[in-house]
Subunit: 478 residues, 2 copies
Amino acid sequence: MENNQIKNQSITRQEDDFAQWYTDVCKKAELMDYSSVKGFIIYRPYGYAIWEQIQNYLDKRFKETGHENVYMPMVIPESLFNKEKEHVEGFAPECLVATQGGKEQIEDKLIVRPTSEVLFCDHYAKIIKSYRDLPKLYNQWCSVVRWEKTTRPFLRGAEFLWQEGHTMHASEVEARTETLKMLEVYDDLGRDILAIPFSKGRKTDKEKFSGALETYSIEALMPDGKALQCGTTHYFGSGFAKAFGIQFQSKEGKLENPYQTSWGVSTRLIGATIMVHGDDNGLVLPPYVAPIQIVVIPVAANKPGVIPAAREVASRLTKAGYRVKLDDSDKTPGWKFSEYEMKGVPLRVEMGPRDIEKGQVVIAKRNDGTKVFVSLDDLEDKVKGLIKTIHQEMYEKAYKYLLAHTTDVHNMDELNKALDFGGYSKMMWCGDRECEDKIKELTNATARCLPFNQMGNGETCPVCGKKASKVVLFAKAY
Amino acid sequence: MENNQIKNQSITRQEDDFAQWYTDVCKKAELMDYSSVKGFIIYRPYGYAIWEQIQNYLDKRFKETGHENVYMPMVIPESLFNKEKEHVEGFAPECLVATQGGKEQIEDKLIVRPTSEVLFCDHYAKIIKSYRDLPKLYNQWCSVVRWEKTTRPFLRGAEFLWQEGHTMHASEVEARTETLKMLEVYDDLGRDILAIPFSKGRKTDKEKFSGALETYSIEALMPDGKALQCGTTHYFGSGFAKAFGIQFQSKEGKLENPYQTSWGVSTRLIGATIMVHGDDNGLVLPPYVAPIQIVVIPVAANKPGVIPAAREVASRLTKAGYRVKLDDSDKTPGWKFSEYEMKGVPLRVEMGPRDIEKGQVVIAKRNDGTKVFVSLDDLEDKVKGLIKTIHQEMYEKAYKYLLAHTTDVHNMDELNKALDFGGYSKMMWCGDRECEDKIKELTNATARCLPFNQMGNGETCPVCGKKASKVVLFAKAY
C-alpha cells in the first residue's frame, strides 16, 4: 500500500544530527517551549497530556498497592536539609535557595526541594510512634528544582515534574520488598503503556543515590546507542530514620528505627518515549499515552456529505472511549497528514466521497505507514485491534533494537568495539570500584545496572582479569 | 433513634472558641500537620484526598469546556514580573525570592510564583500570531507561594495548592463570557459536591485583583458569621497583552491585542467545607468529596461470622463504586464510632450477630445522627438514596443558614446590628469608594460582592444617603 505522505522538511534527520532531531521534535510537535528562565521549560498541552496519561496509570497502581498521596512544602530549611550528611553533599551543588521573604531576609535559608526525603522524615518523626503506625506508604506528585548547568527538554531540566514515593516499614525485609515492588510497577509502565522495554537492576555503589544503601533503576536504550535512566527506587535502611530520630515501639515493646524506601519517575519518561519511538517524520506516540489516539481527516471535504460522515465516524470512536480529533479545518489534507504524522498520532482515519459510497474508511498506522480499508460496520472492532497491534509492534521493535544492541564482552578490546557500535556492553565484573572508574576514564561509559537473574558469558573481569561473579551492563548514558 | 456516640473530648466546642475548634479539627482529623517551615503546611492523606475529589470534578469540567492543562515554571525572573505595574504592586510585598543557584548569586532574582499571569503572557506573546490561534484556553494545577505573616490551615498559607486558568480571546465579549462561565463552574462545584451554597457576584473596584478590570467571586458564609472568599474569576481586558506585546492578526488583517481572563480556586475550599458543615463532634464531610464515604464496623467482632459478614458488606459497597473502609481492627466499637464521626465519614454501617440473624445492617448518618435498619437485600439501593439525601440535607442546612444570616439594611444603625448578628448585610450602595471605606473603618466589614440580578430593598446608600442603584453584600470576612 502506498504511503503518500508529504515529508515535514523542517525536522532534522536522525542520522544527520540526533540531538537536533530531538530538539526539533520537542519544539515542532509543541510538546514544550523554552521560558524566560534559563533551564526551565514550559510543558505545553500536547506534552503535558502525555504526562497526565502516565500519572493516571501510576496513580492507580500506587493506590492499588496501598499508597496514599500527600503534599509536602516546596521548600526545606537549610538547617533541616543538613541533617543527613551524604544526602546534603549529593544535592548541595545544585540547589536553588530562597533568601528573601517579602521585605525580610530569611535567617534559615529555604532550599527549593530537589527531592523531599528530609521533609518526609521530619514529618514521620512526629507521626510514627508504634508498630501500629507502620507501614507508612506515602507518595507525592510535584515538581522539583535542580540548578543544572546544561539542560535539555524533558531529559535534564532545572525544574521537572515527578512523583516521589517515601515509605517507612517495621522490618528490613518489608522495606526491601517495597523497593523491588515499585521497580516492577515502573517496569510495567514501560510494557503496558509506553511500549518501552526497560532493563532493570541494581546500581553499583558508585552510581547509587546520595544516602541510599541500595538503588535500583529502570534503563532504556536510545536509538543513538546511549542509555537513559528512567526511574529509580532506593532502599535506605535506617540511616535517615536515625538522623531524624524516627522511632517506633515494636510489638515486643522495644524502641526501634524503621526502614525506609523512596522511588520516583519524572517527565524524563516523555523524553524516553520521544527518542525510543520517533522517526524522521517526527513523533511516533504509543497509543495508550497518545493525547490524540485517532485523527479523522475528511478528504475532498467540499463534496456534499463528507464532513457529516467524518463527524459521525469521529463521534462513534469518541463514544467507544478513544481520544479523537476531527480536523475539519480548511487546510489541505496533505498539510493535515504531515502535521498529525509529525505529532505522532497512532491512527489516521481518512474519509472521502468514494469511501462514503463504499461504506468504508481508510486507516493509516503511524508506526509503519501501512493503510487498510475498514468497513464502517466493523469500525470499532477493527480500531480496537489496530490500537493493540500498534502498541505490540512498537514494543517489539524497541525490544529487537535492545537485543541487537546488547553485546557480550570479555576484554577491553571487545568493550571498546561494543561501545563504539552503541548500546549495552554486558560483562562480568569483579565488583571493584577501581575497574568501574577505569572504564569510565577510558571509554566514558558507566555501569547502568546489575541486571537480575542473568548469567554472565565469562568468568573474569575484562579490566583486571580477576575472577568475577557479577553481571553488569555498561553503556554511554544521558 | 438513639445516637449512643462517645463524645470526642479533645475538640474544643464551636461556641467556646470557633477558631480553636477549627484548628483542632484540622489536626485531629489528620487533614494537615505543621511543617518545619513557618506557614507551610503538610497536606496529609485525608486532607489531600479531599483536594483530589475537587480536582477530579473541576478537571473534567474544565476539559468539557475546552480547556487544556499546561505547566509553567515555578519561578519568575524579577525583570519579567515588573512588566505590569499594578500587578507587581499587589504582589511584591508577599513574594518569596530565590537569589542563589548552586554556588552562584542569581543576577535577575527569581520570584517563586504567587500567581502566573506574567508567565502565561510571556508564553502567549510567542505563540499567538493570528486569530486562528485564538482562543487559548489554558489551565495549570500547581502550588503558589505568598509570604504571609499570619497563616491558618487551608485558609491562608505561605504555600497552597490551586488551579489557575489563563485564557486569551479575540473579542472582549468572548473574554467576558469566559469570565462568567468559569464563575458558574465554581458555583456548580459548591452545589454538586461541596454542598455549599455560594453567593456570587462582582467585586467592587477596591476589592478586585491587582491588574484586573473586573473580578468576580464566589463567597461562602461561615458559622461564625464571617464570609470566606472561595474563588475568583478576572477579566483583564488587554492590559497585560499590551504590556507583554501580545498581538494577533484579525480576520480583517489588522493587528490587535487579545482579551484576557484568569480564574482560580485553591485548597481554601477544604477550609470552607470544614467550617460550613462541621459540628462539635468534628468533621461532617459532604458525601461526594469524602475520602471515605462509608465505614463498616463489626460489632461483637469476636462472635463467629461477624467479621466475614462485615467484609462481605464492605466488598459489595466497594463494588457498587463507593469509597469504603472496613475497620476490623481490635479497637472497641465505641472508639471506632467516635473516630469516624470525628473524621466526618458520611455513613457508618454497623453489623453485629443479631443483625446477621435478621439479614440487616444498621446505618447511621453522620450529618444528623439518625439511624436506620436496612435489609441486606436492599443494601446498594438504600445506600445510594442515603448518600444523595445527605448531600441534599447538608446543602439545604447551609442554605437556610445563609438566608437566616442575610439581613436587609437601610442605615448605619441597621448595618451595625446586622454585622453584630453575623452574616451578610444586604444594602443599596451609591458606588462611591468613600462610603465603602467608611464602612470598613467603622465596622471592619468589607464589600464581598455585588450579586447578580438582585433587587435592592431601598433606594439610598446607608452611608451618604445619596440615590443608590447597586445592591451589595457587606460582611466581616476571613
